[in-house]
């Protein structure tokens, strides 16, 4: 039985602004399920005395001094943008009419 439902995949797709077909929803539900199952195996070996880890490096407090470094020029910054206006990134309409 699948732990990840098609509805959940549809929800995630919507949050990620991905248009998925019905076939794709079913396909990814199966795949995501397999991924979750694999990750869940870690829980089987994790003992009480092993704290959860979110990072591969056993480090804390890695900071940089508050010093200004050179920025890009606007030309450089915008060179990869699909559309530019007034030295700003031009993006499609954010909200639909109904909002």
């Amino acid at each position: 039985m699948s732990a990840i439902t098609r509805d959940e995949v549809a929800h995630l797709a919507r949050l990620s602004r991905l248009a998925l077909t019905d076939d794709e929803l079913a396909h990814y539900a199966t795949q995501l399920d397999a991924i979750i199952e694999s990750v869940a195996k870690v829980a089987e070996v994790a003992a009480e005395d092993v704290p959860p880890s979110s990072h591969a490096l056993p480090l804390t407090n890695v900071f940089r001094a508050d010093e200004v470094r050179p920025s890009l020029t606007p030309e450089q910054a915008l060179s990869g943008a699909p559309a530019v206006e007034d030295n700003r990134f031009r993006v499609p309409r954010i909200l639909g009419e109904e909002a």
């Binding site: 949050l15 890695v62 990134f89 031009r90």
Partner: protein, 501 residues
């Protein structure tokens, strides 16, 4: 845009109990951004303070700004918070073009500071506003919406984005729900933001300019019917860009929600937008579904573990906080609560304190700043501190008055001269010839002249109507252009007319 019905405030309060919550965002005044070395200068040309990291180019990695971490901890300490011994940044995922990464680096269930409070004075009583958390995140870029009728996001054809602000360190300060403020809710909200702003200013961590957006406030309001035990649904009002707006937004939201609830309607949990011009709120960007930011620990940054000894040092080194300072100044100056409030409202503490430090008696320093100078600041529409006169100059004027060289009228002229850019008080006295006439011979001559020119009044005084001497003193002051010592002139007048008091 439809205008909502509002219930009169008093009626709304009679039927419902308001619960407040405040979320304040503060841009820190660091030289560089939170996770990269770009400058943070306000008002720079678009996209001139951006780099691969704050633009989220592939392969770039963030590194946390040490000063931003320290400033956040200092804010937490000033707000009586506990400081986390270990915490992490988290990714807040959302698709919106104000963040080029499609996520914002923020903190989620492990804020750097938590469980504090800030006491505020409202209407003679102290209200303790409890602080839920203080966390560190990065600011977003600035979008401009093009097309459509109103320049707002709704109905715009497209938007253009400047990422200069994206990545500037941003501290979010969240209160716990504030209950029991009753009709004072709008005042408590305003007093809280005012006190918070002053606290942040005293820490020197931000320039806290609401009009430039370095201090921004979201106001949460809910109402529950009298006698109910469960809180109502809250709304979150954004775009509250001045202290006065904080007060107005709370009031307006109470009135609007009360009208809906009284009519049998229900409040929708939504983000609303405050309008400075009309003082009302309108629905903002609709949340298409329940917020689902899928937070997870930020893998590109390692945890923060502030050394408790270092935190203790930071706490030790905190500056005198505004509330403590106010109590000290009030005791030193010996003034009433009302006078303190007036000085507070006029933003005069620094000026009066500096004037006293420059040698003026507290009463005189306060008198000039809150009287003549407040009036002139008001006339020219500038803040008291914006007047072109220094506390040391005011102190010099009080010294000249105390020594008898000036009277109050002349002192006002000196101030006028200094404000007009005519130089220091001594220079103005010199150039305008404002010294009191101390020369007995000169004064005596003026008195003789005035008596001769006002025979009627002089006769009245001679016949014993001493009150008539006032007119003669006035004449002397006028003839000397205010430079005579009025008390001495009166003595001379009576002496010359052969009467005594």
């Amino acid at each position: 845009m439809t205008v909502d019905t509002h219930m009169p405030y008093d009626e709304a309060l009679a039927r419902f109990e308001p619960v407040l919550g405040l979320e304040t965002h503060v841009e820190l005044g660091t030289a560089s951004k939170m996770f990269c070395g770009c400058k943070t200068t306000f008002g720079a040309p678009p996209n001139t303070q951006v780099c691969p990291t704050c633009l989220a180019f592939p392969g770039s990695l963030p590194t946390a700004n040490a000063v931003a971490i320290e400033s956040t901890i200092r804010i937490g300490l000033a707000l009586n918070c506990s400081i986390a011994e270990w915490c992490r940044f988290a990714r807040k995922n959302y698709f919106y073009p104000d963040m080029p990464k499609n996520y914002q680096i923020s903190q989620y269930d492990e804020p750097l500071c938590f469980d504090g409070y800030l006491d505020v004075e409202v209407d003679g009583r102290t209200v303790r506003v409890e602080i839920e958390r203080v966390h560190l995140e990065e600011d977003t870029g600035k979008s401009t919406h093009v097309g459509g009728a109103t320049g707002r996001i709704q109905g715009a054809d497209y938007s253009i984005v400047d990422y200069n602000r994206a990545g500037i360190p941003l501290v979010e300060i969240v209160t716990k729900p504030v209950e029991g403020t009753e009709s004072l809710a709008p005042d408590v909200a305003k007093a809280y933001v005012t006190e918070l702003r002053e606290t942040l200013r005293s820490l020197g961590v931000s320039d806290v300019r609401m009009e430039e957006g370095s201090l921004r406030c979201d106001v949460n309001v809910s109402l529950m019917p009298r006698g109910a035990s469960e809180w109502g649904t809250r709304t979150e009002t954004k775009n509250v860009n001045s202290l006065r707006s904080v007060e107005r937004a709370v009031r307006s939201e109470i009135e609007r929600q009360a009208a809906i609830l009284a009519d049998g309607g229900r409040i929708i949990q939504e983000t609303r937008h405050f309008h400075e011009d009309t003082g009302v709120t309108t629905p903002g960007r609709s949340k298409e579904e329940a917020q689902d930011y899928r937070y997870f620990p930020e893998p590109d940054l390692v945890p923060i573990a502030p050394d408790p000894a270092w935190v203790a040092t930071l706490k030790e080194a905190l500056p005198e906080l505004p509330s403590v300072r106010r109590k000290r100044l009030q005791a030193e100056w010996g003034v009433s609560d009302l006078d303190m409030q007036a000085m507070h409202n006029a933003d005069a503490f620094d000026l009066v304190e500096a004037t006293v430090a420059a040698g003026a008696p507290a009463a005189d320093a306060r008198k000039w700043w809150m009287g003549e100078l407040a009036r002139r600041a008001n006339e020219s529409g500038v803040a008291l501190a914006g007047l072109p006169i220094t506390p040391a100059q005011i102190a010099r004027v009080t010294e000249l008055v105390a020594s008898g060289a000036l009277n109050d009228k002349l002192a006002r002229e000196v101030l006028e001269g200094v404000l007009a850019g005519e130089g220091s008080p001594d220079e103005v006295v010199e150039r305008r010839g404002l010294r009191i006439v101390n020369d007995e011979g000169e004064l005596s001559a003026i008195v003789d002249q005035v008596i001769a020119g006002n025979a009627d009044a002089a006769d009245k005084v001679r016949s014993g109507k001493i009150a008539a001497a006032g007119a003669l003193v006035g004449g002397v002051m006028k003839a000397s252009r205010g430079k005579a010592d009025a008390a001495r002139a009166r003595e001379l007048i009576l002496e010359k007319l052969g009467v005594s008091e």
